[in-house]
Amino acid sequence: MKIAVCIKQVPDSWAEKKMVNGALDRENVDAVLNDLDEYAVEEALRIVEAHGGNEDGAAHSVTVISMGPARATDAVRKALSMGANGAILITDPALASADALLTSKVLAQVINSEGFDLVICGTESTDARMSVVPAMIAARLGWAQLTFAGSVDVEPAQSKVSITRVSEAGVDSMSANFPAVISVIEKINEPRYPSFKGIMAAKKKSIESRDLAAIGISAQSAWSQVIDSQLRPPRAAGVKVSDDGSGGEKLVNFLVERKLI
C-alpha cells in the first residue's frame, strides 16, 4: 500500500495575521504544520501499522506531499519525525500566490505520477479555511471521494477502504476501491508527538524538492482576485457584571434593551 498525505505549512493559529498586497503575510509569522493535517499523518501511520508497518523493506509506505516555500521543510520534517517514510516538496516562486485550484492541480499531478493507493488530507487548512482541496483533488484525478472521515478502515488485500463520513448532514457509511482521496476530521485520532528517535531518524530521510517544470505544469494566473482588504474596527468593549444573584436578571435586561427578546 502506498499512501500519500498532503500537508501544508500555515501561520500559527494564535499568530496575528495581516494582509499585504492582497495576500496573507506569511513572512512575519511563526509557521507550523497545519494542525488538522497532523490527524491525516497520524491516520496514515495507523493504517500502515495495522497491516505490517512501514519500516524499511515493508510492503507499505507513507509519503508526505506539500506545496510551499523552502521553509515549509520544517512542517514536512515534523511529519517525517512522526514516522512518514519520505516527502516531496513542490517549491516554485510562481506558486507564491497559488489559490486552491492551482494547489489541487499541482498536488493531483504529483499524486498521479507516483501511483498511490490512498491520499489522505486534513479537512481544511487553518489559514485559508476553504475546505475544498480534497474534493478538488478527487475531481481532478477522478478518484473516489471519501471526505470528512471520522473513522477509516482499510482492507489492503481487497484494495478496499471504508469510512464513516461525519458532517452537518449526519453520519454516512461509505466505501470504495483504491485509489481514493480521504479527508479526516479532528475526532478521528490523537496525533502522536514525534519521539526523540523519530526526530533523529527524520533528519536522515529524504525530502525531494520539485519545481513546476519538474512536474510538468506551467504557472497560471489565479482564478479569483482580491480587490481590497480592510481591518475591521475592533468589537466595542461590552458591559461586564459580576453575578451577585442579579446577573441573570441583568442579562435579560440587556436582551430587552437590544430588542433580542
Binding site: 495575521k17 461525519v166 482564478w223 480587490i227 481591518l231 436578571e249
Partner: protein, 317 residues
C-alpha cells in the same frame, strides 16, 4: 439578463432559510434558477417547499445516485447543468457539503471559487471576514462561472413569494463521480430545536457545564434558540458533534450568541465571531471569551442561567 444558479438546500425535507438567502444574493446579479437535486420520486415534493425568495425558475434533477454516491455525484450533476445552461454564477450554502460540491464543480467547469462569503454584490464581488474577524476582504472570480459559497444567516432574506416555472431534467452521472458508495445514512437528531446555522439565537455550552446541558437547553428553549457546544463538550461526549461550533464544527452568525462555560479558544471563536451580539457567562473573569462579549456575566452558569430563563419566560407570559 444573465442567469444565476443557486443550489437549493433542504433541512428535514424543507427548503431551508439559507436557500432564500442564496436566492436573495443571486437576484442582485441576475435571474435566479434554483437547482434541486432530489432522490427519485421526491423532486416535486421538495420543489413544493421552495415557496419564497426571488426565484424565476426551478430545475429539478431526480437521480438515485445523489444518495448512493455522495458529494461527487451531486457535483457532477451541477457541473453538467452549468455546461448546458451557462449561468454567470453559482451560489451554494457554505457548509461541508456545499463547499466540497463547489470545489468539485470549480475543477470540472474550470471556474474560480470564493468560499464563506458573508455578502455578495450586484457585480458578484464577494465579501469575506477573515483572520479571526479582524479583516474584511472583497474578492472577485475572474475565470469561468463565478462560484461563491455563502455563509448562512448573513444575508437578509427576501421572503416574497415567487411564481417560478419548474423544469425537470434527467442526467446520467459520470462514472468517475460514482466511485464512492454510500451504504447507509443517519441524519442528525434535531430534537425539535432550530437548525444551528439558521437559528437567530444560539446558546452554547462548554466544559463549564461539566456534562450537564439541562440549564443551557432550558435557556435555549426559553429563547427559541438552537443549542451549540464547544469541542471540549463534544469530545467528552456530552453533546453530539453535529452541534460543535468552531473551526472544525459549524460556523454560526446568529443575531445573538450566548457562550456558557466556554473559555474562547481561537478555534471556537472561528465559528462564532461573526455573531451580531455576544453574551458570555463564565466564572473566570480572565477568560478570553469576554473580549468578544457585548454583555458578560462573571458567574456560575448554574446560578445565572436559571434566573435568566425564568426572566425570559416571565416576559413572554
Amino acid at each position: 439578463m444573465s442567469t444565476v444558479f443557486i443550489l437549493a438546500d433542504f433541512v428535514n425535507g424543507q427548503a431551508s432559510k439559507t436557500t432564500t438567502e442564496l436566492a436573495t444574493a443571486a437576484a442582485r446579479i441576475g435571474e435566479v434558477t434554483a437547482v434541486i437535486l432530489a432522490p427519485v420520486g421526491q423532486g416535486a415534493t421538495l420543489a413544493a417547499t421552495l415557496t419564497s425568495g426571488p426565484i424565476s425558475s426551478i430545475i429539478v434533477v431526480e437521480n438515485a445516485d445523489f444518495q448512493s454516491h455522495g458529494v461527487s455525484a451531486s457535483a457532477d450533476a451541477v457541473s453538467q447543468l452549468i455546461a448546458q445552461k451557462s449561468p454567470t454564477a453559482l451560489l451554494v450554502a457554505s457548509h461541508a457539503f456545499g463547499k466540497e460540491l463547489a470545489g468539485y464543480v470549480a475543477v470540472k467547469t474550470d471556474s474560480g471559487i470564493i468560499t464563506d462569503a458573508v455578502d455578495v454584490g450586484s457585480d458578484a464581488t464577494a465579501t469575506q471576514v477573515i483572520f479571526g474577524g479582524s479583516t474584511t476582504v472583497h474578492s472577485k472570480v475572474s475565470n469561468g462561472t463565478i462560484i461563491i459559497t455563502v455563509r448562512p444567516n448573513c444575508i437578509t432574506a427576501d421572503t416574497s413569494a415567487h411564481a417560478a416555472s419548474v423544469e425537470s431534467i434527467s442526467l446520467t452521472i459520470s462514472d468517475s463521480a460514482k466511485k464512492a458508495t454510500v451504504s447507509s445514512s443517519q441524519p442528525p437528531l434535531q430534537g425539535g430545536r432550530p437548525e444551528l446555522t439558521e437559528a437567530n439565537i444560539v446558546v452554547s455550552g462548554g466544559r463549564g457545564t461539566n456534562g450537564d446541558f439541562a440549564a443551557v437547553e432550558a435557556f435555549a428553549d426559553s429563547l427559541g434558540a438552537a443549542v451549540g457546544a464547544s469541542r471540549a463538550a463534544t469530545d467528552a461526549g456530552w453533546y453530539p458533534h453535529s452541534h460543535q461550533v468552531g473551526q472544525t464544527g459549524k460556523t454560526v452568525s446568529p443575531q445573538l450568541y450566548v457562550a456558557c462555560g466556554i473559555s474562547g479558544a481561537i478555534q471556537h471563536r472561528a465559528g462564532m465571531q461573526t455573531s451580531k451580539a455576544i453574551v458570555v457567562i463564565n466564572k473566570d473573569p480572565e477568560a478570553p471569551i469576554f473580549e468578544l462579549a457585548d454583555f458578560g456575566v462573571i458567574g456560575d452558569l448554574f446560578a445565572v442561567l436559571p434566573v435568566a430563563t425564568e426572566g425570559v419566560n416571565a416576559r413572554k407570559s
